[in-house]
């Protein structure tokens, strides 16, 4: 019988281990901060689309910051050679725009733009080449060359004698001529674009690749004073993944150490401590393994779950160990600890699961992980920790020193003064300085320290300074839908420019392939393709060299090629065209996505949100912040009210006493007011992440009030006994939770860190108010009730 039981247990352990290990192996890190935000917001969709198609996951940007242009040029040459000599490491190195390296390739894109025009404009172009008008056209070109002050006009006219490019409204899609992707104006800041040889499915691949790139840079003999920076998607992926790994390991380990110190300073028992730590590690591993089956990626917010969950699950260990001091056999111990663990785990996990009601996937993620972890922690503590801790020990348990200290009247008086002091100071601050503000900036979405971000900021500042521009993306299932949406948007943009809302708008409309126009135009151009000799003769007669006809000839050749192929819509495909299109139009699995730029008038940014309709999204972090501010507080208010209602219902069932429920409500109100006062005092603000702390405090902080009121009811209102025994447990629980949240308060992700900071502050305030003020209020109310009853009786 015993052997069978042993085999059964062994099978269970092996099955659990297999389940956990498989789950753990499925987990990876997702560094995309946009995955934390509500996808129903237009700006989130826009930013995601932009990141997916135009930020390019396998492209690394290497910046060279040199004392002067010559040093920068030498450094770029050295680095480009080094990278090109390692094709296994870098598939492609681009150090200058492809049309500078091979200007002849640009003719394909020009031919495409001309062919893609509306047929009436294209017909106008062809008419200028007719035998009757070609002389005037050539004279107009010569006039431009002779009289124009505009270098760009002169430059184009000298190689476009027939004025083909005159029909293109280049300003409508081209960015400013001063913008460069490769060099600052003074040439001292340069950029190389490296393409990884393969996709990076995993953060470990990105970390390894970045290490190799960095090693190549470090080994390169660069001129003195040159600084090399790395940025782009692979750099962000590697950097954030490493930070996430470190955050999870360091905060989890630190929490365990602090819990060990707290337990040791209180009980000074080795075996229970070792068992408790072992249980917490097991809870963490099993929770993470279980989570691996449900979600295979940990977000930057999700990594905070380890220490938060440990800090909360340890509560059940404390409760059980404290109960074990008076209940020596496992059955009575389980019976004594079960209600408290059940209520605590239920309310805490309910609070965390409530985060699912938020539209923010990051908070859903955190809520599910912690909620699951807390439930698993409760189950493991009751099923494994109880029998282990109730086994006979060498030294009989004794009352902890902290309990004795808490039982002293002086300690309790001091605690009451401390609690009152906190309440007076914080609420006073609130009355004088008002409520904490709401931070709508995108700062909380970012990492605390990021070299890749610093380099990117430097790059923006030195090269393009597009920070006053807002990108927009337009999607379509195919070219037709994309074109239709761009055409719908175009008059709105022109109207916004006319009314002053926009200073300028650069739309990709001219670049988007228009199969109907292309077919019509190519048919119309058939005649001119056969008149090349006439055109050449006219150009020569007008005084131009043969060189002047090179671009025209290339354009005509390209049109001939497309006419022969007869495939529509036409897409330009050479290296230069691909380079231009990579930042303008991209293919995605469900269709196409195009990007344009808007320069809003100062103060008009928010009004641009109205431009967002189906398939049209703005790409702007500041606008995202404003959209979140519009949506999140309202959403959270609804969730909090719902959670509060459920909690009140649960408490009413649990206590069956109006007094107890009202006292709990009063306690929580006081805690939240004090928390906001403390935040104001410390200069903290609400944001889209830490506003979730209200729910978490409702869930976890309520436990302390439950323990307190249950204890007072059990011992007949003996405040001193409650404060020394249950108060001890509450301080152990809150100390551990504060340790858990506190370590996450230094997390790399600023949103997660701010959430943990508010929770830390709230739990500390909650514990002090609950242990020192709630029992006094409870007793006062009870006495008042008894006094009321006495005269009546």
């Amino acid at each position: 019988m015993a052997a069978r039981k042993f085999v059964l247990r062994a099978v269970c352990v092996v099955a659990l281990a297999a389940f956990v290990i498989t789950g753990l192996s499925r987990i990876s890190f997702n560094v995309d901060v946009l995955k934390l935000l509500p996808t129903r917001l237009g700006t989130v969709t826009g930013l995601s689309l932009f990141a997916r198609h135009f930020a390019r996951p396998t492209e690394l940007l290497v910046t060279v910051n040199a004392p002067d242009a010559d040093a920068a040029e030498r450094a770029v040459t050295v680095l480009a050679e080094r990278f090109r000599s390692q094709p296994n490491l870098v598939a492609r190195v681009v150090a200058q725009s492809p049309w500078e390296a091979r200007p002849e390739q640009l003719s394909e894109f020009v031919a495409y733009l001309l062919m893609n025009q509306p047929p009436d404009k294209f017909a106008e172009l062809l008419s200028r080449l007719s035998p009757e008008k070609i002389g005037a056209t050539l004279q107009e070109t010569k006039d431009t060359l002779a009289d124009s002050f505009a270098p760009s006009d002169i430059g184009v006219a000298s190689y476009d004698p027939l004025g083909l490019l005159r029909s293109l409204d280049l300003n409508r899609f081209a960015s400013s001529s001063n913008l460069s992707e490769f060099s600052s104006k003074d040439g001292a800041f340069r950029v190389l674009y490296l393409e990884a040889p393969r996709a990076m499915p995993d953060y470990r691949v990105a970390i390894g690749w970045m290490k190799s790139i960095r090693a190549t840079v470090d080994a390169a003999p660069l001129p003195s004073g040159v600084k090399v920076g790395l940025t782009g998607e692979p750099a962000f992926m590697a950097e954030i993944s490493q930070q996430m790994q470190w955050d999870m390991k360091s905060s989890g380990a630190t929490t365990l150490v602090i819990i060990a110190i707290i337990f040791w300073s209180c009980y000074r028992r080795v075996r229970p401590l070792a068992l408790l730590i072992g249980m917490l590690v097991a809870t963490f591993v099993v929770s993470l393994g279980t989570a691996g089956w449900m979600l295979n990626e940990l977000s930057v917010i999700g990594v905070g779950f380890a220490s938060i969950m440990i800090g909360l699950s340890v509560d059940y260990g404390y409760l059980i160990y404290q109960a074990s001091l008076e209940n020596r056999d496992s059955t009575s111990l389980r019976r004594a600890a079960f209600p408290s663990v059940l209520w605590a785990a239920t309310t805490t996990s309910a609070a965390f699961f409530t985060l699912n009601a938020s539209s923010m996937p990051g908070l859903n993620h955190l809520g599910n992980l912690v909620g699951l972890g807390v439930l698993i922690g409760g189950v493991l503590m009751l099923s494994i920790f109880v029998p282990l801790i109730s086994k006979p020990q060498a030294r009989p348990p004794e009352a902890p020193r902290l309990e004795t200290w808490l039982a002293k009247p002086a300690t309790r008086r001091g605690g009451t003064v401390l609690a009152l002091g906190i309440v007076v100071v914080t609420i006073g601050t609130l009355l004088v300085r008002g409520l904490p503000g709401f931070d709508t900036s995108a700062r909380v979405l970012k990492m605390r320290h990021s070299n890749a971000n610093d380099v990117l900021e430097q790059l923006y500042g030195k090269l393009t300074d597009e920070r006053d521009l807002i990108s927009f993306v337009v999607t379509g299932r195919n070219e037709t839908e994309l074109l239709a949406r761009l055409r719908t948007l175009d008059p709105k943009l022109k109207e916004a420019e006319r009314t002053g809302l926009l200073l300028r708008a650069l739309s990709p409309l001219l670049i988007c392939p228009d199969a109907i126009s292309q077919r019509t135009n190519l048919t119309a151009a058939h005649g001119i393709l056969n008149e090349r000799e006439r055109l050449t003769a006219a150009v020569s007669k007008a005084g131009f060299h043969d060189d002047a006809f090179v671009l025209t000839k290339a354009i005509l050749d390209q049109w001939r090629t497309w006419e022969t192929a007869g495939l529509f819509p036409i897409w330009p495909r050479n290296e230069t065209s691909a380079w231009i299109l990579r930042r303008t139009i991209g293919h995605e699995p469900n269709g196409l996505v195009a990007m344009g730029l808007l320069q809003p008038a100062p103060g008009a940014e928010e009004k641009l949100l109205n431009l967002q309709t189906a398939g049209i999204h703005l790409v702007s972090w500041p606008l995202l912040g404003r959209e979140l501010r519009r949506v999140i507080p309202r959403e959270f208010a609804l969730i909090i009210v719902s959670l509060l209602s459920v909690l009140l219902l649960l408490l009413a069932v649990a206590f069956r006493s109006l007094r107890d429920v009202l006292l709990m409500v009063a306690t929580m109100t006081l805690v939240f007011l004090s928390l906001m006062g403390a935040m104001r005092l410390l200069g903290m603000q609400w944001n889209v992440f830490n506003v979730a702390s209200i729910m978490l405090l409702l869930g976890t902080g309520t436990d302390y009030s439950i323990y307190t009121i249950l204890a007072l009811n059990r011992n007949g209102g003996d405040v001193a006994r409650m404060q020394s025994k249950t108060g001890l447990v509450i301080f152990l629980c809150s100390g551990s939770a504060v340790a858990g949240f506190g370590t996450v308060g230094r997390a790399s992700h600023l949103g997660l860190a701010s959430l943990a900071q508010v929770c830390t502050l709230g739990l500390a305030i909650d514990a002090i108010i609950t242990v020192f003020l709630l029992p006094l209020a409870w007793r006062w109310w009870k006495n008042w009730q008894e006094q009321k009853k006495r005269p009546a009786s």
Binding site: L145, A146, F149, S158, K185, G187
Partner: protein
């Protein structure tokens, strides 16, 4: 877009006012020229402009006139009747095509931000040190009282399109005979000046071009 033209304008005006200067050579003519600048309050001159292009068999020749009044107003007319006019007054430059009734407006401050500070300065350099900071003198020859200077801009952004400038001037009077700019793509622009008047009286209305009925747009630098 306008940077090359602006550089051309400022260089022309500076050069007409006095002359150009060498660097590691004997740069005294340049120092003298810069010293003369303070005495210039206005300029009026005719010019013949010759533009040469790789793609054209023969150079294109135009005639024109320009006016300048300190501290920074100018008017530049190409052709007779003018086909293209550039007028700068205070902080705005207009590029005007009278025949097409079109004008483009540019803010000088914006042009300076995007085109570099050297583009709109007149005098071209505050002093000799400033000139040396902006230009490198490659050659300087003096024959009698006539001086020929060849310089290249030090600003890398300007060097991207402007490879060389040449000046012919008289050292004794600071009078400019010709100025040439060579551009990276192989074209060049030479201006030969005649009828130069230093400090003539110029009607302020010269810099107020009537743009009623014109289509005026904001130009992009």
């Amino acid at each position: 877009m306008l940077t090359r033209f602006c550089l051309f304008i400022s260089l022309t005006l500076s050069a007409i006012a006095a002359g150009a200067e060498p660097q590691t050579l004997d740069l005294r003519p340049i120092k003298q020229w810069l010293a003369h600048q303070d005495k210039i309050h206005s300029i009026s001159a005719d010019f013949t402009q010759t533009r040469a292009f790789h793609s054209l068999k023969d150079p294109l020749v135009s005639k024109g006139h320009f006016w300048f009044v300190a501290p920074g107003s100018f008017r530049w007319e190409m052709g007779d009747p003018p086909k293209m006019i550039a007028v700068k007054k205070k902080d705005v430059i207009y590029l005007i095509q009278p025949a097409k009734k079109k004008a483009e407006r540019f803010l000088v401050e914006k042009l300076q931000q995007q085109g570099g500070p050297a583009m709109f300065k007149f005098p071209l350099a505050k002093d000799f040190e400033d000139f040396q900071r902006q230009f490198e003198v490659r050659a300087l020859t003096v024959e009698g009282s006539r001086c020929h200077a060849e310089v290249v801009p030090k600003d890398p952004a300007t060097r991207k399109f402007l490879t060389e400038m040449k000046f012919d001037f008289e050292t004794s009077t600071g009078k400019l005979f010709a100025m040439e700019m060579r551009f990276k793509e192989g074209s060049s622009m030479r201006n030969e000046f005649s009828g130069v008047q230093i400090n003539p009286r110029i009607d302020p209305a010269t810099f107020n071009y009537e743009l009623t009925d014109f289509q005026v747009t904001d130009g992009r630098p």
